[in-house]
Amino acid sequence: MRSFTVHEGIVAPMDRANVDTDLIIPKQFLKSIKRSGFGPNLFDALRYLDEGQPGQDNSKRPLNPDFPLNQPRYAGASILLTRKNFGCGSSREHAPWALEDFGFRCVIAPSYADIFFNNCFKNGVLPIVLPEETVSDLFEKMYAEEGFSLTIDLPAQEIRSASGEVIPFEVEEFRKHCLVNGLDDIGLTLQSAEAIRAFEKQHQQRNPWLFGSLK
């Protein structure tokens, strides 16, 4: 996994609450058996005026000029600012894959759905939780200033703006450790293989019906 330490980038808005994972990446693109290539279809139904299909040449599709990610002022954005309960609905990891593939490294919102939040950390995308008022304040500043950018400093757990403002944020220690070091958590878990085997043995003795072939 790509590590995340300090990142500076342009902030783009997704100014609505309860953005669901169907909106982040519509179902027709989930037919891919790959992990990459979802970026061009991020927010597909909002970004384009027609219905997208997998495998299509997206450069020929009509863009929705009202959608912020299509506007020059947000070109190259890598930090997504949004409202509460972002990523609700389906567990599809294609949602953070699409965000990451598009170029987003960080999402800032007042809250997230649990599974999406979890999936972000597995893909080098940092979901930051800030109070609703702070998020509203950032929205105002972003709309007011073209090219508004922020620096996300994960080791220091703070967000810095060009004007010198510093916003601290919380992140779980273990998740931070994995993200900063780009760690593969399967490798970490398998360091506990002996403990897993020992548990499994006891568990089978207590609940023998949980073990046995399904063939």
């Binding site: 179902k27 990891e93 649990d114 779980e172 273990f174 593969d184």
Partner: protein
């Protein structure tokens, strides 16, 4: 020491180890796989040179992409017309062969929606930890199991280590006292709960559903309720084990037999919250107050009782909420103040992991028996949750009732719930759907979903608009 909740017990019984910050390894008993969220996980195993930790914990079945017309289904995997869908279904088969994982093939009688198949085959049991790369895995909590959805990286993690690296959730009790009125179902209860606590109300919690109304539900009803807990933000929903649970599990293909059955039943009898258990949050509701529910917007919390009027955006207190309601009304092509009963569905969908079990089909069939789908309805699909459900329904003659009423009787799969196959809404079409999500575009580009119970969907099919199934008579 305070007593334990059902969730506390299930967590403790599967805890391998815990780190000081609470990050824990939780042992997984059953891992269900489907074609959409597993290919990248198998690929990850291959790239890392890893093998599944325990083969017999895994069970795979294709459901999201499979065609539901009998003609297209007849050709098996090779007969799937959409080449991208076909490749995904084929890839699950290939991966299961390569890694020696049991897969139920698409034209096997046991095939169906993974969350219908698991309990039906006894592959998910009380006391288990169950995960699947699908958010509606919460369904299996109805058996008194700890069950929730995971992402694809976690699918790979569970395949490789039989564990999930996770943190304990908080405990929420949703207690529903009293009895549901006749014609009001588990689906209405689920929607009413979501309407009350919101789509983020359960975020960070495992929900236990309790109270008289929940204990009175059949296993099918409990599955519908637990299925929708993710729509209230809670990854896991569960119901304590009782005689209804034991009765349901007994005799199923993978359920324990003989001496092990006795041993299992004794262990399962502990699977309820202690009387003095402490919950972090408690939500109380009266079952009698709940009416048939219909969603009007683009989030499951945008729901009203059947006699409701669509809300006025200006009546909400925050700009974010006003904007959400405005956008939802616009997307849905509806106006503030309009009665729910004026909404006319173009299509009807009875199916999905929420409502495609035998009891759901019986309820819908009872409503349409001897009647006709309204001329204004373009299509009414009935998609059983599994081949077993389909066979049972046909044995009871339900398929004939649906077909005689002008509905289509299909092969099992996820179908129009998320429209990954050919079953989808056209741009701007309204659908009375027994599925679980009314998000923008969920059932097709520009499609407009109204979530309802099977009986309410069936009644809307005949009436041509939403009606209160409790007192509705055709022609009245």
């Amino acid at each position: 020491m305070a007593g334990q909740t059902l969730y506390d017990k299930l967590w403790q019984q599967h805890l391998v180890e815990s780190h000081p910050d609470g990050t824990s390894l939780l042992y997984i008993d059953r891992h269900l796989l489907h074609e959409v969220t597993s290919p990248q996980a198998f690929e990850g195993l291959r790239l890392a040179g890893r093998k599944p930790w325990r083969l017999d914990a895994n069970l795979a079945v294709s459901d999201h992409n499979v065609p539901t017309t009998t003609a297209e289904r007849a050709g098996g995997v090779e007969g799937i017309i959409d080449p991208i869908s076909r490749l995904q279904v084929q890839t699950l088969g290939d991966n299961c062969s390569d890694f020696d994982i049991v897969e139920i093939p698409i034209n096997d009688r046991r095939q169906g929606i993974v969350h219908v198949v698991g309990p039906e085959q006894g592959a998910t049991l009380p006391g288990m930890t169950v995960v699947c790369g699908d958010s509606h895995t919460s369904t299996h909590g109805a058996l008194g199991a700890l069950a929730h959805g995971i992402g694809t990286s976690e699918v790979e993690h569970v395949l490789a280590s039989q564990c999930l690296s996770t943190k304990k959730m908080k405990n929420m009790l949703v207690r529903v006292d009293g009895q549901l009125q006749k014609g009001v179902t588990a689906k209405d209860l689920a929607l009413a709960i979501i309407g009350k606590i919101g789509t983020a109300g359960g975020t960070g919690y495992a929900i236990e559903f309790g109270g008289e109304a929940v204990r009175s539900l059949s296993m099918e009803g409990r599955m519908t309720l637990c299925n929708m807990s993710i729509e209230a933000g809670a990854r896991a929903g569960m119901v304590a084990v009782d005689d209804t649970t034991i009765e349901y599990v007994k005799g199923r293909t993978y359920a324990p037999k003989g001496e092990q059955w006795e041993q299992a039943v004794a262990a399962w009898s502990e699977l309820h919250s202690d009387d003095d258990a402490v919950f972090d949050a408690v939500v109380e509701m009266r079952a009698e107050d709940i009416q048939p529910q219909v969603t009007w917007g683009t989030s499951p919390e945008m729901v009203l009782p059947i006699d409701g009027l669509l809300p006025d955006p200006d009546s909400f207190d925050s700009e974010t909420a006003r904007e959400s309601v405005r956008r939802a009304l616009e997307y849905m092509g509806l106006k503030a103040g309009m009665p729910i009963t004026d909404i006319k569905p173009d299509r009807i969908f009875i199916g999905s992991c929420t409502n495609s079990r035998i009891e759901d089909l019986r309820e819908a069939a009872a409503v349409v028996r001897g009647k006709q789908v309204a001329a204004s309805v373009k299509q009414a699909l009935v998609v059983p949750g599994s081949g077993e459900v389909k066979a049972q329904a046909e044995a009871e003659g339900l398929d004939k009732i649906f077909v005689e009423a002008g509905m289509e009787w299909r092969e099992p799969g996820c179908s129009m719930c998320l429209a990954m196959n050919a079953d989808k809404l056209g741009d701007g079409e309204h659908c009375a759907s027994t599925s679980n999500r009314n998000f923008e575009g969920r059932q097709g580009f520009g499609g407009r979903t109204h979530l309802v119970s099977p009986a309410m969907a069936a009644a809307a099919a005949v009436a041509g608009h939403f009606v209160d199934v409790r007192n509705w008579q055709e022609g009245a």
